[in-house]
Symmetry: C2
Amino acid sequence: MSKTNTEALEKGLAFTPRFAADGTIPAVATDVETGDVVMLAYMNEASLRQTIETGIATYWSRSRQSLWVKGETSGNRQHIVAMRTDCDQDALWITVRVEGHGASCHRGYHSCFYRAVPTEIVGAGTVGENVPLEFCEAEPVFNPSTVYGKKS
Amino acid sequence: MSKTNTEALEKGLAFTPRFAADGTIPAVATDVETGDVVMLAYMNEASLRQTIETGIATYWSRSRQSLWVKGETSGNRQHIVAMRTDCDQDALWITVRVEGHGASCHRGYHSCFYRAVPTEIVGAGTVGENVPLEFCEAEPVFNPSTVYGKKS
């Protein structure tokens, strides 16, 4: 990319999101109440437009290859409080107010990031092949079987 | 993926990050002081291992195709305070304490997400082709020309 284009992309006042080869851009969602990152999902051009126009987070489901109004089934819709883009406009950060249970994960947790690498491991030198996780959210906020129906 | 594998992936206590076809996994970094999302970058298996072992955020630069210890030039290293993974283990969330200027963007801003889609546009219905941005960080924290040297 030429310097002029980089300047426009990084210092300009035009929103020109750069979608990856598969037509998507990653969108980080944080909860306005807790500040937590609650999910990382993807938008394509149509879902980004719908998100801006409706103010409700709408993603592109890469697995289902379809528009995905987050929370349509569970009631946990995400209302956009703020939408930012990064320096080279290949990522989005949305701050959301979550309706319903206030949970964003299909597993019923507040955040999809409900497990952590134990802090005593991080920065402590060589790790083996097996790195453990620990739960950092105690309990799901809702029961997925009840909300989505039991999957066979 | 079979149900058993999904259960292990999403409810288990083994860290089994799922790298994309290009060998990378997206990592969202938030600042422990401000709670802001400061960048979205990518790690490959080697950089993730180095991050865990050293406690310093180390990414994989997709443009340079090399390990990238964030802040090595600017002094703005990111110390890992917490590292989490999401439900299907295809994304990471790291909370960091930033050394030096406390800025994470190569443009000198605290956060790479220094521009926003104006809130009055979001949720207000049809938008045209041209969506504007506005700055949400007033001034860079450091001068990139001074820190990185002027690029020709």
